[in-house]
């Protein structure tokens, strides 16, 4: 009986640790998330006028990637 209880506790701990690891993998902590946003803002020019974006796209032979979002890309969202 003790063996079975021990086994159940062991499995439960393993499942719990695996679940915590999955959650940690999905989370991007503040400093890293901030660095990524900074990278996005400095390496790409972000237009705020769709007309400007369309004109640039026509001139450069590209498509427009237009993001509609709650908040500002360079501020709080």
């Amino acid at each position: 009986m003790r063996t079975l209880i021990g086994l159940a506790i062991g499995i439960s701990l393993l499942v719990s640790q695996a679940s915590a690891a999955r959650r940690a993998h999905r989370m991007v902590r503040g400093p890293e998330a901030g660095a990524r946003v900074e990278h996005l803002l400095t390496e790409l020019k972000w237009e705020t006028s769709l007309e400007d974006a369309k004109q640039r796209a026509a001139a450069e032979g590209k498509l427009v990637f237009w993001v509609q979002m709650l908040g500002r890309i360079d501020g709080s969202t």
Binding site: H25, R36, D52, A57, L63, V67, M69, L70, G71
Partner: protein, 207 residues
């Protein structure tokens, strides 16, 4: 977060002119908590938070080639960008009539789902709280529901069964197929992104 990660970041840099618009206050905009720069972020499922974020891919004349609501995994996003490229070629093909172009648009959107990898489909499971919302609020009318009996049971109790609902990757292609080559100004964003709860907030900074 996904836009800053390769392969999405490289594709954005090489193939697109990027821009953005704050939709706070728009009729279709959802609600969320405050997320400052430097706050935690989370990798979630494709299509999560459709009211808070929409990623449009447009031709230079403003024609909508594709639109992805919510978060998308970087690799899956690039896969969808490739579809936008194919649709752009159709749009620019002077040998095709408008009706032929629309038909090609619908075919390409519909066929693209069949090319989605198993991983992409898994990453496109609708959030459980969005499934419950669909089951409880519009069981008979939602185009996100495949099995209404199973969804109804889930609406009354517990976690909804996955098979009762379409995955978001399928849902967006079906909805886009009904909107061939619309002008951005004429695109019915409110209807297009309408699935799940208007409020989406994973409270990342409390984790």
């Amino acid at each position: 977060v996904s836009l800053s990660q390769d392969p999405a970041f490289g594709a954005l840099k090489d193939r697109f002119v990027c821009g953005y618009q704050d939709i706070t206050g728009k009729s279709y905009a959802g609600r969320s908590g405050i997320h400052p720069i430097g706050g935690n972020a989370i990798r979630t499922t494709n299509g999560a938070g459709p009211h808070n974020l929409q990623l449009f891919m447009l031709a230079a004349d403003g024609t909508v080639l594709h639109c992805l609501p919510g978060y998308w995994d970087p690799a899956d996003l690039v896969h969808e960008m490739e579809l936008a490229d194919a649709l752009h070629a159709v749009w620019r093909d002077g040998a095709l009539s408008p009706a032929d172009k629309d038909a090609r648009f619908r075919d390409l959107q519909t066929a693209h789902v069949d090319g989605h990898s198993f991983g992409m489909v898994r990453r496109s499971r609708m959030q459980a709280f969005d499934q419950k919302f669909e089951a409880r609020r519009r069981l008979e009318t939602s185009d996100a529901i495949v099995d209404r009996d199973a969804a109804a049971a889930a609406g009354r109790r517990g976690r909804p069964p996955q098979h009762a609902f379409k995955t978001t990757d399928r849902l967006v292609h079906e909805r886009m197929a009904a909107r061939p080559f619309r002008a951005y100004e004429a695109f019915d964003t409110a209807e297009y992104v309408d699935y799940g709860r208007p409020k989406y907030d994973k409270r990342e900074d409390e984790r």
